[in-house]
């Protein structure tokens, strides 16, 4: 399959990239890892007039923690970098759990977290993770930078809130106030297939109590689902079996799955329930041992 014709530009600076996007007047697309965009071009679901390839931009491949614990992931940080990250293994369990489950190992060598957020696929793993963590995207345009909270970043399936002349330069996970804990679980029919269902859980604990919680769901709705009620009921409570069961039930209720070849709606809801229960039970056990 061949993509339709496009003009190709490989800018050397962010400013140059933004200028090209501005000149593209809404008909330009940014190419980062390309693991979703190139297939879309080949299937001709997308046929932009111009591709702005940002792979030559230097200084965007990072992921790092600020002194206060804020985690920043640059636009060209590949999934594989996050999968092998000692920083995430030590400090951000939800991201560390999700990274090895994104797509397949070969796709992870190219694909990027920021690109995955921009692609806004309801099946995208990172959107659920960043939502659960209360993160945001930093967009840079002709007038400077702005922060877009993850909840506002996705406008619907495959639609993001970026202006046509804005480049998503990094994703930001706010510094935790308590001890970060959590995980990411997903069921897929085989490696690399879209998720039957996935669940991101991110909590912070202090003195045996949950001080902050986020739960977000992959692949069980028209876009990533922020299970706000399930997360809210955890705050201020210890992670006992009863609390966990309630949160799991609320998260399953927040899911809006459709029956398809990957499973029935009922089954997918059951998966969400099970995933929340499993992740929180493990967190609860660890917190108890630490206390």
């Amino acid at each position: 399959m061949y993509p339709s014709r496009f003009r190709y530009e490989a800018p050397r600076s962010i400013d140059e990239a933004i200028e090209l996007l501005r000149a593209g007047d809404g008909e330009a697309k940014v190419l980062a890892g390309g693991q979703s965009l190139v297939p879309l071009l080949k299937l001709r679901f997308a046929s932009p007039e111009m591709l702005v390839d940002i792979n030559d931009l230097t200084g965007l491949g990072y992921h790092r923690a600020d002194p206060d614990g804020t985690i920043r992931v640059g636009a060209l940080c590949r999934h594989v970098d996050l999968e092998r990250s000692s920083l995430l293994a030590e400090r951000q369990p939800t991201m560390a759990a999700a990274a090895p489950l994104v797509a397949d190992p070969i796709v992870r060598n190219r694909g990027t977290l920021v690109g995955s957020l921009c692609h806004a696929d309801p099946q995208g793993d990172w959107a659920a993770v960043v939502t659960a963590l209360g993160g945001h995207v930093v967009a840079q345009g002709p007038d400077g930078r702005r922060e877009i909270p993850m909840g506002d970043f996705v406008n619907g399936p495959f639609e993001n809130a970026l202006g046509y002349d804005e480049l998503a330069v990094e994703a930001v996970i706010p510094a935790p106030a308590g001890t970060p804990a959590g995980g990411y679980l997903k069921l897929e029919r085989r490696v690399g297939d879209f998720a039957t269902a996935g669940t991101a859980v991110a909590v912070e604990t202090s003195g045996g109590l949950v001080t902050r919680a986020g739960i977000a769901l992959t692949g069980v709705g028209a876009s990533t689902i922020d299970a706000v009620e399930a997360a809210r009921m955890l705050v201020g409570r210890p992670l006992g079996a009863e609390v966990i069961g309630e949160a799991a039930a609320l998260a399953a209720r927040a899911a809006q799955p459709k029956s398809d070849h990957r499973g029935s709606a009922k089954y997918k809801r059951h998966l969400v329930h099970t995933f929340v229960e499993r992740i929180l039970t493990r967190v609860g056990d660890t917190t108890e041992r630490a206390a």
């Binding site: 061949y2 080949k42 070969i106 190219r110």
Partner: protein
């Protein structure tokens, strides 16, 4: 008057970019349309047909090549993106007269049936062994989980990779002593 007259497309109407890619250690320069995929440049442009295109939708991994040493799916990268980079295809592993230990192992352990997935399997496996010379069976399975075998011959593929790892470690030890 002719009913139709064929009009040659103006050659300058198609945007073309010059790329230089080091393929299997040799610098190759070509003028390509930006929409040309790396897999097509390798197969049709450079006649390196060992790189197979299977699903053409980023699922199967038959088109896997090493890009600066890391496996990527060449059906999911534009040829222009490889400009200035190094690409290794299965032809870069070894020739008919002298097989790479990975190829030798696939032959000895029956790691291929129809052979379609084999180039991608061997390159993904080579990338694993370059970083992890002594992988566990789980690590091999994990590293190959982006490559599909339509014959479902996974058992022998995993055996082949583990066998190649042993051979390559023995060679490295011999070279080192």
């Amino acid at each position: 008057m002719a009913l139709f007259e064929e009009i040659a497309e103006r050659s300058d109407a198609v945007p073309v970019r010059r790329v230089t890619i080091t393929v299997n250690g040799t610098r190759r320069t070509a003028d390509v349309e930006p929409r040309l995929l790396l897999a097509h440049l390798l197969r049709q442009g450079l006649k390196l047909t060992g790189t197979h295109t299977g699903c053409d939708t980023t699922n199967c991994g038959a088109c896997t090549v090493l890009f600066d040493g890391r496996p990527i799916k060449s059906c999911t990268m534009l040829a222009v993106q490889a400009d200035g980079h190094e690409v290794t295809t299965v032809e870069g592993l070894g020739g008919a007269s002298e097989l790479h230990p990975m190829q030798e192992a696939f032959k000895d352990e029956h790691g291929l049936q129809c052979g379609f997935c084999t180039p991608g399997m061997m390159l993904a496996a080579k990338a694993l062994l370059d970083e992890t010379p002594d992988p566990s069976e789980d690590e091999v399975r994990w590293a190959l989980s982006g490559n599909l075998c339509r014959c479902t011959g996974y058992q022998n593929i995993v055996k082949s990779v583990l066998s190649a790892a042993r051979t390559m470690r023995a060679q490295a030890d011999a070279d080192g002593s």
